[in-house]
């Protein structure tokens, strides 16, 4: 019998703590597969964010560090500059990267740090109970926007990837979505490219924004959450290559 799919070694053989229908598990698998396909496990260091993925090191079998909320790009900078032969990636959510860590990601890109950033955008703070994120859509109900996000007073969804794409130091920026098999395949391709650029020592920062479902705090079934990405999220966060 032909094996068509198996767990890649860098993804640990254990259940995750993620909610049913959450996108983190898929994103972790795509990163693990990429690391194994590129044969870089022995020189990769990963950075886990503050948020639902804080325990990413329980699932990804590489050297990993857990850092303060939003500071991953600064920590990654300290690691990469002192270890140019290592492959450094950060895994950050929308609260981590687009709210508290805006300065760090902008300046890491601004300095053209040779880093790979996987930015998980699920339009909500998951870990703390479903509060508004900078990427929350207008009208979206969250724990802190009970009447739906209103641009007056709560601002518009923040398109960080578009901002980063403007910077010369960001050499590759792509937005993908985990909705559907095709979306997952495209996300995998983008993640792999973002790692490859660092392996090739390309001079700048690579970032893949991943639109990812959070059925729990979107108050939807996993299937509906996937639909919502395709119908609503992509209108505000259009998919495709923004740079590079």
């Amino acid at each position: 019998m032909k094996t068509v799919f198996k767990r890649t070694p860098t993804l640990k053989d254990c259940p995750t703590h993620y909610c049913p229908g959450c996108g983190h598990g898929i994103a972790h698998r795509l990163i693990a597969e990429t690391i194994d396909e590129l044969g870089i496990r022995g020189r990769t260091i990963g950075i886990a964010p503050v948020g639902c993925a804080v325990l990413a090191y329980d699932y990804l079998d590489v050297d990993m560090i857990e850092v303060a909320h939003g500071r991953a790009p600064a920590v990654a900078t300290g690691m990469k500059r002192t270890n140019p032969d290592k492959i450094i990636f950060s895994y950050q959510g929308d609260g981590d990267l687009a709210a508290i860590g805006t300065a760090e990601i902008i300046h890491a890109a601004h300095r053209a740090e040779q880093l790979t950033v996987i930015f998980i955008n699920n339009a909500v703070f998951g870990m703390t109970g479903g509060q508004m994120a900078p990427t929350t859509l207008l009208g979206q109900v969250t724990a802190t926007t009970p009447k739906g996000r209103n641009a007056a007073g709560e601002g518009y969804p923040l398109q960080v990837s578009e901002i980063l794409a403007l910077l010369p130091g960001a050499i590759y920026v792509e937005r993908c979505a985990l909705s559907g098999a095709a979306g997952v395949r495209k996300t995998k391709k983008a993640i792999k490219h973002a790692f490859e650029l660092q392996v090739e020592a390309a001079e700048g920062l690579s970032l893949v924004e991943v639109l990812s479902p959070c059925p729990t705090y979107w108050r939807m079934t996993p299937a509906k959450a996937m639909e919502w990405i395709e119908k609503e999220m992509v209108k505000v966060f259009p998919l495709g290559r923004l740079k590079g």
Binding site: R41, V54, D61, R71, V75, G78, A103
Partner: protein, 364 residues
């Protein structure tokens, strides 16, 4: 600015350097791999010096976008096993407290230099000693300590930079050099050569890529019941070992003294002159100078308090270290404070007057 030939090849000769540049060169000699910093007065000579010298040495220098970023770059470099440091002054050190708490939780070695200026808030840019509480009580959130040196000469800045890097590695702890604007700016002759160093443990915990071994994880989150308590108790054991082994303190004519003046850093140099003048005038005065502010020389001060003496603590603050002196004296003798906050500097005459007030009956 010191030419390279003066700093590198002739470390056995005394040369004239300002404190900020001397501590920077001492760090390079101590094997610093990476410096990260953000400009702030009165320590800007450090970042400028590092930008030039680290490049010459082929090592890492980054002017970060903020102090938050600087301390987190330190966090990253340290996690990979590199020798790393940052420097700043009071307001910038406040911003670094988040990172310093994480360094403590993750047990990563680091050296942080605080060239203190007056506060609170933006305060001013004059020398001050008003960050003692912050430095010696951990500073950020959570149950932790940092080793704190309070050097009083440019030479001590050099010597304790060397020791700071070793102690950081030995104990996997942050070591703070608590200097002030005077020390940073003043020029004194220094000998840069590296002192004998400690035996250093292997950094088998470092993140180097999990090649041929299980993954290493650097973390400060411990969610399961009892897990964080276990870490806290492990840290406590480490802190107790440091308290037992690493106290440094200097004292002078304490045995027969009626009055003992306690001061650290630049204030201790003024106290030294005042006490000498007091002795010349027949007053039995002595001084104790804590060199490590944490661990604090509690034993030494407690011993001096066994025989009845008056303790006068002199600081360039509203009175911070005086609380540690009171804890050490534990009610066995009176503890009096004299200080000048906000960039004010106590003069020899002011301290001498205070000594006289406390020791000459008709002046009391």
């Amino acid at each position: 600015m010191i030419e390279k030939s003066d700093t590198c090849s002739e470390t056995h000769k005394r040369i004239l350097m300002c404190g900020n540049e001397a501590l920077a060169e001492a760090s390079i000699i101590a094997g610093l791999d990476a410096y990260f910093g953000y400009p702030i007065t009165p320590q800007n000579e450090i970042t400028a010096y590092m930008s030039r010298r680290m490049a010459e040495e082929g090592r890492v220098f980054i002017q970060s976008e903020s102090e938050l970023a600087a301390i987190n770059m330190v966090f990253g470099a340290s996690a990979t096993g590199k020798r790393t440091m940052t420097s700043s002054s009071s307001p910038g050190i406040s911003l670094m407290q988040e990172g310093m708490s994480y360094l403590a939780g993750a047990e990563l070695p680091a050296v942080v230099v605080n060239v203190m200026r007056g506060g609170p808030g933006l305060g001013n840019i004059a020398p001050s000693q008003s960050d003692y509480f912050q430095a010696t009580r951990g500073g950020g959130h959570g149950d932790y300590r940092t080793i704190v040196f309070g050097p009083s000469t440019v030479q001590e800045l050099v010597d304790y930079m060397h020791l700071a890097f070793d102690l950081a590695d030995v104990y996997r702890i942050t070591v703070v050099i608590l200097a002030d604007g005077f020390l940073g700016q003043m020029m004194e002759p220094v000998l840069l050569e590296k002192k004998p160093h400690r035996e250093l443990p292997a950094k088998d915990w470092a993140l180097t890529g999990a090649k041929g071994r299980e993954q290493n994880i650097v973390r400060s989150l411990w969610l399961p019941e009892g897990a964080l308590e276990a870490l806290n108790n492990k840290l406590k054991a480490k802190y107790e070992l440091i308290e037992k082994n690493e106290v440094l303190c200097e004292q002078y004519e304490v045995e027969d003294a009626e009055i003992v003046v306690v001061a650290y850093g630049i204030a201790a140099r003024i106290v030294r002159s005042a006490v000498s003048r007091a002795r010349e005038e027949g007053i039995k005065a002595g001084w104790i100078r804590p060199i490590t502010l944490w661990p604090f020389p509690t034993e030494q001060i407690s011993r001096a308090a066994e025989e009845f003496k008056i303790f006068l603590t002199v600081e360039m603050s509203l009175g911070q270290m005086v609380e540690d002196v009171r804890l050490a004296v534990a009610g066995k003798a009176p503890v009096v404070f004299y200080g000048r906050p906000g960039g004010g500097t106590p003069t020899v005459d002011e301290i001498l007057d205070k000594i006289k007030q406390l020791t000459i009956p008709e002046k009391r």
